[in-house]
């Protein structure tokens, strides 16, 4: 008999990946130029985690999914209306920065407090989900710190698969060097999982799910708490877009045979 899980996904918004990003430095440190004007999406890494959470919850009756999201409220509001149509979850919205330059320790503290404050959360059945990386911060450290703050010592990063076994234990596949997976078994929750891409495609929009989610999402956005994220002693000397301009030789009108010959010679060069 499977037991229900309480799955909390931490995930925020990032600029749409097709946007061109440019840094600017202000009084409060580096930021993205026109950050509030850039279209935003749910961080693709966190999105994988959310979809995996919903998938897992659906297989274990009585399970529940929360999404804890720290970002500018106006932007969260827009993105959540799309995300809400994907899978069932309850939103915990925190009104604060979603910048990639925010320090992971400070961010993690705000997230951990929010998770700890979720009423009715059964910490013994808690699976803490998040992105292994992020399309903004890419800190690769936030989730571990959130889990530490919540006292979770079973942690997994780069997770591609989580299988609950008959006895309630969980088999986890983590990405490691060389394109391989590390296989571990965790006997029981609580545990924390930083998801890589998993195996699930992005679910298609489902208005029925959207209608149900909206009942909790709208009030959650209304009461989103202003959250300051400040790092002590962190100073940026410079932030730049790397200059990678190359002198490109464009080869037109060369027959495929000749291109192939050039390529083969190039491949064989040491």
């Amino acid at each position: 008999m499977s037991q229900p899980f309480h799955i909390v996904v931490c995930g925020s918004i990032v600029p749409d990946p097709l946007q061109m990003l440019e840094p600017v430095t202000g009084a409060a440190g580096p930021a993205l130029k026109n950050e509030m004007m850039l279209p935003a999406v749910l961080d693709p890494w966190a999105a994988h985690a959310l979809f995996e959470a919903a998938h897992l919850a659906a297989k274990h009756a009585g399970s529940k999914v929360w999404l804890v999201s720290l970002g500018p409220k106006a932007k969260l509001q827009q993105v959540m209306l799309t995300v809400a149509q994907k899978v069932p979850f309850e939103l915990v919205a925190l009104d604060g920065p979603a910048s990639g330059f925010c320090d992971s320790l400070a961010t993690a503290q705000v997230l951990a407090d929010a998770v700890a404050g979720i009423p009715a959360l059964n910490r013994d059945r808690l699976l803490l989900f998040g992105g292994w990386e992020s399309a903004s911060r890419g800190a690769g450290s936030t989730m571990q710190i959130v889990a530490e703050r919540l006292g979770i010592s079973e942690q997994f990063q780069g997770v591609d698969q989580l299988t609950v076994r008959e006895d309630g234990s969980m088999e986890i596949l983590e990405r490691v060097e060389g394109g391989r997976h590390l296989v571990s078994v965790c006997s029981a929750p609580p545990a924390a999982f930083g998801w890589a891409t998993g195996h699930l495609p992005e679910p298609r929009n489902n208005p029925q799910v959207g209608m149900t989610n909206m009942k909790t999402i709208m009030p959650a956005l209304q009461r989103a708490k202003a959250s300051a994220v400040a790092a002590d002693g962190l100073r940026f000397a410079a932030v730049n877009v790397p200059k990678l301009q190359r002198q490109t030789r464009v080869v037109k009108d060369m027959p495929p045979e000749e291109i192939a010959r050039e390529l083969v010679a190039w491949i064989r060069e040491k």
Binding site: S141, H199, T248, A260
Partner: protein, 332 residues
């Protein structure tokens, strides 16, 4: 003066290239160097770097530390940090340390930075933000400060071996509910990820699009790609859009999985050469190329953003035609 702890795992064999690079970076910082080792038996590893100039060698030995596991890795690192009283901790960015050290930083009320690509003599760190799309240089006053150094970003330490006296750091049993089962290779039929390959072959979404005859030729595309990988022993990378399709059971390249994904939402492989085919696009895909030295592309659009400043050579041609001949030539 900073007290610098260089952290390394050992399986009893020689230290990895990445570990020696991190040691090279740590020993170049000019503080008091301490080496911290964890593994079943660490003495051989300590001896191999005995002349690195470390003031102390600290070790956590035991079966529990042989396997990669958060609870035991974090406990070992925490103990080594506490005993060494380190203010700065340098470790190679392995999957183990990347998983464990952020939590250790939290336990010690310190700070952590990952994806570090260079360390300045003034103890400034340069690292990537926004998935390799920006780089920032920063300093911190908070200590201990843990820094995970990316591979191939510093010269490896290459001193002589010797005899090191490692102090064992006492460890209580670490409670954990996790047992490690072992490593598993990719489930795809053929090996397509070869981190040590000389060449990264990037398959763009164009392989699955309608071609000039108005039809889609994924079977042919797959044969060409796999044929090339076999003949060239290249590693395979793909864009997110291409890999996403494979998750949906559409007419796609079965040889691709999410593990092949490079770029903003995938891995950032490092290879001496890269060949991109049927690719079109800029930022999101190009970030996957950031650490490829020599880049060529086969693309149908001469004015594509690719043709401008991102690759060394762009061949304006049909990749289906070109790769068929390349495969034949390589096979011969």
């Amino acid at each position: 003066m900073e007290k610098i702890l260089f952290l390394v795992h050992t399986d009893g064999g020689p230290l990895s290239k990445g570990a020696l690079q991190a040691l090279g970076a740590a020993s170049g910082l000019g503080g008091e160097l301490v080496v911290g080792l964890a593994g079943v038996s660490t003495q051989a590893a300590a001896d191999s770097i005995a002349t690195c100039g470390a003031a102390r060698f600290l070790a956590v030995d035991g079966e529990a530390f042989a396997q990669p596991r958060y609870a035991t890795d974090a406990a070992a690192a925490e103990a080594l940090c506490r005993v060494s009283e380190a203010t700065v901790v340098i470790a190679p960015s392995t999957s183990r340390w990347a998983r464990a050290l952020p939590g250790v930083a939290a336990r010690l009320h310190g700070a952590v930075d990952t994806h570090v690509t260079s360390l300045g003599a003034d103890l400034s760190a340069t690292r990537w933000f926004y998935r390799q799309r920006m780089e920032g240089t920063l300093t911190r006053t908070q200590r201990p400060w843990m820094l995970l150094l990316e591979a191939d970003c510093a010269a490896a330490w290459n001193g002589a071996a010797g005899s090191a006296t490692a102090e064992q750091v006492p460890m209580a049993a670490v409670p954990t509910r996790t047992t490690v089962q072992g490593l598993q290779d990719s489930k795809t039929d053929e090996q397509t990820i070869r981190p040590e390959a000389n060449l990264l072959f990037v398959a763009g979404a164009g392989w699955t699009k309608k071609q000039a005859d108005g039809a889609i030729h994924t079977d042919q595309a797959e044969q060409l790609i796999l044929g090339f990988l076999r003949a060239s022993q290249a590693s395979l990378g793909g864009s997110k859009s291409l890999v996403d399709l494979s998750g949906e059971g559409q007419a796609v390249l079965r040889c691709m999985s999410h593990l092949n994904q490079v770029g903003q939402t995938g891995s950032t492989p490092r290879h001496p050469k890269g060949l991109s085919t049927c690719c079109h696009g800029e930022e999101p895909h190009v970030v996957g190329w950031r650490f490829i030295n020599d880049r060529r592309a086969v693309n149908m659009d001469a004015n594509c953003g690719w043709a401008r400043g991102k690759a060394d050579v762009v061949y304006v041609a049909d990749a289906f035609a070109v790769m068929a001949i390349v495969n034949r030539m390589l096979g011969g």
